[in-house]
Amino acid sequence: MPEPMGFFTDTTVCIGCKACEVACKEWNQLPAANGGIGELSGDSYDNTRKLDGIHWRHVRFIEQFKAPYDGRWLMMSDVCKHCVQAGCLEVCPTGAIIRTEFDTVVIQSDVCNGCRACIAACPFGVIDINPVSGTAQKCTLCYDRLKVGLEPACSKACPTDSIQFGAITELRSRAQKRVDQLKAQGVQAELYGADPQGPLGGLNSFYLLVDKPEVYGLPRHPKLPSRNLGKSASFSAASAAVLGLLALVGLRKRRMEEVGHV
């Protein structure tokens, strides 16, 4: 059994070249958006804007030119986090979403029927429908390449090693060293998703950030969708019991009135 594999993304060395986006699109034969017609976002130098069914990698540009910042660019190559406890896998009603032998999370496109429950369940907004297949799609961490001993296309293409691929334990120790190095230089660096005791049991794609997670479009405390199940089901059952009781009391009252009239 191979050990858990994943990505460590060091955002401090990302230059926003988007080579990872292109490599991902090319290897996975993902279609162009908008029929290939270029569409500018109009408010950012980033025109991809978000992860979805045809963008499994997205280099996020965080353009900090308003107070309290005096002009700073942050870049982060975003991707599926391959959560150790995955919300998408939890809710998928068809069994299309599986955990692989590499501890990654993969959607089987031939099983998925496009119900979109996984889109609403993902705490990171990673998944969306691929309009060509009509199914939910996201990064597979290049499962096909991993099976034959190759590294994922994105990390292979990354020219600065911002995206590093490897065994999770090895990546965590490498990431901690990098955080220590940056802190020694006075940079406020922190790891996001590297703690196996943290939210979702840790992320198999984790990040080194130099600002709050929200600034990068990441939730501070990602949670599983099932956290609401017990409470929501209890409230619903109580509501059903109250309505059932009200109906029965009404019927009994009517019968008593009927008896009274006789």
Partner: protein, 304 residues
């Protein structure tokens, strides 16, 4: 900011909003018909029969809407059986969408059986095979079918709200009250639909009075649960400073709950109150679903 604002919208819109409304209404109508079948009097039979018919049509429509909404409609059965290991059953008890797929299927089966029984009772079945089934679903077996179908009906009326809560989306996952809210609304709209349809099947004044009296109580429960839902959202309630908030306040609370309560209190006209309840039930689903659907992760992250 709630962590739910960093998620993606599932595009549950033009087929799912009507499904949530029709499924809730059908489940609620069957639930009330089953209660009248088990605890009512013979004069309630027209309402019971109308309830079963309504539920059967609603369940079939619900299945159709759910299937059409899929990205791959021909794979709808993947929710019921393991596609690579047929006929092994596909079921996740902790996933409301998986639970709901089975519930809709079984509810459809039970409501069609009950509807056949109701038509056999009225002598409206000509086909010998259907007549045999309809005749069998009467008496003791009919009551058993009603009891199980009634439980499935109330489940179908409420699980859609639980389904929304068991996500990571804004509004839906930020409150545990949506299941109870949709359930109360489903039963209330079920009663309203019966008030409109049962007179054509010969419903008596006393049956209609009971429906009106029950709908009044169901609307009060719905209003209280709606208040609990809004209170549970806390600071997130700023999302209602929008068109959807206006719709919730005016369309759902004003026209869908308070005005029908006033009309029910005056006892007349029943049909006007029922129509408003149906409108309110639909707008409730529309407002709660589209208010969340409109929140886009990348816009939130970019501060737009």
């Amino acid at each position: 900011m709630s962590d739910t604002f960093f998620t993606g919208a599932p595009h549950w819109t033009w087929f799912i909003v009507p499904y949530f409304f029709i499924g809730g209404l059908a489940g609620g109508a069957y639930f009330l018909a089953a209660l009248l079948e088990l605890f009512g009097t013979p004069e309630d039979r027209p309402v019971v029969r109308a309830g079963y018919d309504l539920a059967a049509v609603g369940a079939i429509l619900s299945g159709a809407l759910l299937t059409i909404d899929l990205g791959q409609p021909l794979r709808f059965w993947h929710m019921l059986f393991q596609s690579a290991n047929f006929p092994a059953v596909m079921f996740k008890g902790w996933s409301p969408i998986s639970f709901g797929a089975w519930a809709i299927l079984l509810f459809g089966l039970f409501s069609v059986l009950s509807a056949l029984g109701a038509r056999a009772e009225e002598g409206r079945l000509r086909n010998p095979a259907l007549l045999a089934v309809g005749s069998a679903v009467r008496g003791g077996l009919g009551k058993l079918v009603s009891a199980v179908g009634g439980l499935l009906g109330i489940f179908v009326a409420g699980y859609t709200g639980i389904l929304l809560s068991v996500t990571n989306r804004p509004i839906w996952a930020d409150s545990a009250w949506l299941g109870a809210l949709f359930l109360a609304s489903g039963v209330s709209t079920g009663a309203a639909a019966l008030i409109l349809l049962a007179p054509r099947r010969g419903a008596t004044e006393r049956s209609l009075e009971w429906l009106s009296s029950f709908d009044t109580k169901a609307l009060v429960v719905e209003l209280l649960v709606l208040a609990a839902f809004i209170a549970s959202l806390g600071s997130l309630n700023r999302v209602w400073v929008s068109f959807w908030g206006l719709l919730l306040l005016v369309g759902v609370v004003g026209f869908g709950i308070l005005e029908p309560l006033r009309l029910h209190a005056r006892r007349r006209p029943l049909a006007s109150a029922a129509k408003l309840v149906l409108l309110g039930g639909f707008l409730l689903r529309l407002a709660t679903m589209l208010a969340s659907e409109g929140i886009d992760r990348y816009r939130v992250a970019a501060g737009l």
